[in-house]
């Protein structure tokens, strides 16, 4: 299998879907002439033309709304937010229009569209540009949320998201774009990963590290460190946060009896809160310890390098959380 970057995987997915279905188009700030702020849409303008790859003004609410209208009338827009931090401006179109349309029209009008872009912290981008946006999107019924952590997942899930008949928020990561991984060769056929399916990224028996998005890599590092200490950690990558793969979570907890939720967002009413509630509800009698969460500190992301490091989840904190649920601390 060829090894490509997360960025190339997304580019492949976009190109293949633009090629496959001429109702698909890409729109956002600098996606065309500039090949995208993070070069995800490199070469797409040249290949598909300016009716399919469209540059917009700096007007998130405006072009998100254009996308909703286009979707309502039968197109399949892919709206790129330069980062999800800027999508806060567009949330009215996302939550009030896209997520509600199917419900409020009694199923007559759907919004088959994708809002995509990087979410979460990179390096020293400070409080306004380092936010993990999952909770704002996943909170509302009517919209799906996909958070791929690897190149293969990025490609397979983006293709599934574009084909899905509901609005999908698709969250990438600045620090993921250069991550390399094996992705099936396009020559070997259409590679699509169904939404709503978690994947066990590493099998283990002592503790489940459940996570999503770029934190998958941190979880795998922690699992490697724990292994040297004789602890077998399982890493469960949810991949899709709505719909949630409840079965996969419970299966892992039934096996290990101990769970840690790892996410890059804030703890307060975070994704982990939902997962903890689910586990205690559905797997209470399988728990040997309270579920512990590892999250960003409950503060706006500091700019200072040393403080930023302290605010973010790191390997040692994941290992410490595992030790805690294993009663090894």
């Amino acid at each position: 299998m060829p090894e490509i970057t997360y960025r190339e995987a997304l580019n492949q997915a976009l190109a293949e879907e633009l090629e496959r279905d001429d109702s698909v188009f890409l729109m956002g700030e600098e996606v065309a002439e500039y090949d995208g702020a993070y070069k995800v849409s490199k070469g797409l303008l040249e290949r598909f033309g300016d009716r399919r790859v469209v540059d917009t003004p700096i007007s998130e609410l405006g072009f998100a709304g254009l996308g909703v209208g286009a979707a309502m009338t039968g197109l399949r827009p892919v709206i790129e937010f330069m980062t999800f931090n800027f999508s806060i401006l567009a949330l009215d179109q996302v939550i009030n229009s896209a997520a509600k349309m199917y419900y409020m029209t009694g199923g007559q009008i759907s919004c088959p569209m994708v809002f995509r872009g990087p979410s979460g912290a990179a390096l020293q981008l400070s409080a306004q540009h380092s936010q993990a946006a999952e909770t704002w999107y996943v909170h509302s019924p009517g919209i799906k949320l996909v958070t791929p952590g690897t190149p293969a997942d990025a490609k397979g899930l983006l293709k599934a998201s574009i084909r899905d008949n509901d609005p999908v928020a698709f969250m990438e990561g600045e620090l993921l774009y250069n991550v390399k991984g094996e992705v099936p060769d396009p020559e070997d056929g259409d590679f699509v990963i169904p939404l709503g399916k978690a994947e066990v990224k590493r099998e283990g028996s002592d503790v489940s590290i459940i996570t999503h998005g770029k934190m998958v890599h941190l979880a795998l590092q922690a699992a490697g460190k724990l292994e040297k200490d004789g602890v077998s950690a399982e890493v469960v990558d949810l991949r899709t946060l709505r719909p949630l793969d409840v079965e996969a979570i419970l299966k892992s907890v039934h096996k290990t009896n101990r769970a840690v939720y790892l996410e890059e967002g804030w703890p307060y009413v975070g994704i982990g809160s939902q997962i903890v509630a689910l586990i205690q509800d559905e797997a209470f009698d399988y728990l040997d310890a309270p579920v512990v969460r590892v999250t960003q500190a409950d503060v706006p992301m500091p700019y200072a390098k040393n403080l930023e490091k302290l605010a973010k989840p790191d390997v040692n904190r994941v290992v410490a959380a595992c030790d805690r649920v294993l009663y090894r601390d």
């Binding site: 307060y268 209470f284 310890a289």
Partner: protein
């Protein structure tokens, strides 16, 4: 307001009490501090005092009855007060427990906070977790009422004893229930003494499941109820049984050894065999020991007994198991009613049974249902040894070899034929003094076989 009289924990380890005597009757006026009843605990008989003033309106547990710690056993109220809600008795006790548990759970949630990393959200989490825990327990109650009932007295007993409920992870609770273990018997190694999975696993390995053992012990059912007497366990007997099982295993053995002068038994055997020569019968020393053991057991029925889990069964008849070595192990054929049989009879029967045992031709009823057993390794030159009890029997006698040894008699050196006998006793049934008295009688018979005629 009515005052509930609870069975109180009158000893640190008490889980249940027996009302020996009510010192007040229904209708008597009582004041705070008055002695209401005598209660037998696992350690001693204690006084239970009133915790309120009024009329002793209702006694819910009669004399001789048992009640777990925390259960309401009587109600003190004003003369005209409506106490109909207590008529059911047990229900009210349950309400009290639920309250205690709720309070304890709240305390739990609060104390948990201290351990958590970031206080704000973890407080929420602790509370969330706690509420469903109670729901889950209620669900359990509906599904498996018996299992839950087992636990309840402990839950109630604990706040009374030291103000804490037993902390255990949900998984540990479930595993303990599946293993039939009581949480109170398991040492928790988690934060704040929380019992976690590894603790239950260790307890299983360490054989804390031993308490289950009595239920699995096969119980020999004699033909007639007149042949035995079932003695209910006193609180002390229960405490002894429980403690010793924890200490030494499912059957808590102890051993008593005596040195016996066999000089006269040797003489007696020679004369008996001379007498029986014409009949072709030969009496062995082991036959003499069997006869003497049966006689001694008849005099000491407390040693002729079975452990029945919730009672001790003392037998009026003596069925002696005789350990016989066979090719790939051993078996204990039984001389039934050995106390009624003469030496020649015993000798013939043992010979016949042992012969068939070696050929594996014994019928099950010929080797099950002994009330006591004898094992003799004297012929191998074994000086003395301890034998392992065959449950549910409460004792076994291990017989060593006879040899001439110098002994001091009245300050003079003498040479006697001596033999060492060691009795293994199940301490749940037999105490040291009882076993010793039995051995004294046995020794007396062996040292003066004429006793058999008296």
């Amino acid at each position: 307001m009515a005052t509930k009289v609870h069975m109180e924990a009158l000893s640190p380890t008490m889980e249940e009490g027996q009302i020996v005597k009510w010192l007040k009757s229904e209708g008597d006026e009582v004041s705070n501090g008055d002695v209401l009843a005598e209660v037998e605990t696992d350690k001693a008989t204690m006084e239970l005092v009133a915790r309120g003033d009024g009329i002793l309106r209702r006694i819910l547990v009669e004399e001789g009855g048992n009640a777990p710690v925390g259960e309401v056993i009587a109600v003190i109220a004003a003369e005209d007060e409506d106490i109909s809600e207590f008529e059911g008795g047990g229900d009210d006790g349950d309400d009290g427990e639920a309250d205690d548990e709720e309070e304890a759970s709240k305390a739990d949630a609060e104390s948990d906070d201290d351990e958590d990393e970031s206080d704000d959200e973890d407080e929420e989490e602790a509370e969330k977790k706690d509420a469903p825990e109670e729901d889950a327990e209620e669900d359990d109650e509906a599904a498996e009422p018996e299992a839950v009932r087992d636990d309840e007295p402990e839950v109630a007993a604990d706040p009374a004893a030291d103000g804490e409920r037993i902390k255990a992870s949900p998984l540990a609770r479930r595993l303990a229930e599946e293993e039939g273990l009581k949480l109170s018997d398991i040492q928790g190694s988690g934060p704040g003494g929380r019992i976690v999975k590894r603790d239950v696993e260790e307890a299983v390995e360490a054989g804390a499941a031993a308490e289950e053992a009595p239920a699995e012990v096969p119980t020999f059912a004699p033909e007639s109820e007149e042949d035995y007497e079932d003695i209910p366990l006193s609180q002390m007997r229960k405490a002894i049984a429980k403690r010793l099982v924890q200490s030494i295993g499912p059957v808590p053995h102890f051993f008593l050894t005596m040195d016996v002068d066999m000089t006269r038994a040797v003489e007696a055997r020679a004369r008996v065999n001379a007498m029986l020569e014409s009949e072709g019968v030969k009496v062995s020393f082991n036959d003499i020991i069997l006869k003497a053991t049966a006689m001694a057991l008849k005099k000491h029925p407390e040693c002729n007994a079975h452990w029945g889990g919730d009672h001790v069964r003392r037998f009026n008849r003596v069925h002696l198991g005789v350990a016989v070595a066979v090719e790939d192990g051993l078996i204990t054929p039984i001389v039934r009613d050995a106390h009624l049989k003469g030496l020649a009879h015993i000798a013939q029967e043992v010979r016949e049974l042992a012969g068939r045992a070696r050929k594996k031709r014994l019928k099950p009823d010929e080797y099950t249902g002994a009330t006591f057993s004898v094992s003799n390794l004297g012929m191998f030159g074994i000086e003395e040894f301890t034998a392992v009890i065959n449950p549910p029997e409460a004792g076994i006698l291990a017989v060593g070899g006879m040899e001439e040894r110098p002994v001091v008699v009245d300050g003079e050196l003498d040479v006697q034929t001596r033999m060492k006998i060691t009795m293994s006793c199940d301490h749940r049934v037999i105490d040291g003094a009882q076993g010793s008295r039995f051995l004294q009688t046995l020794k007396a018979i062996l040292e003066e076989p004429l006793v058999a005629l008296v």
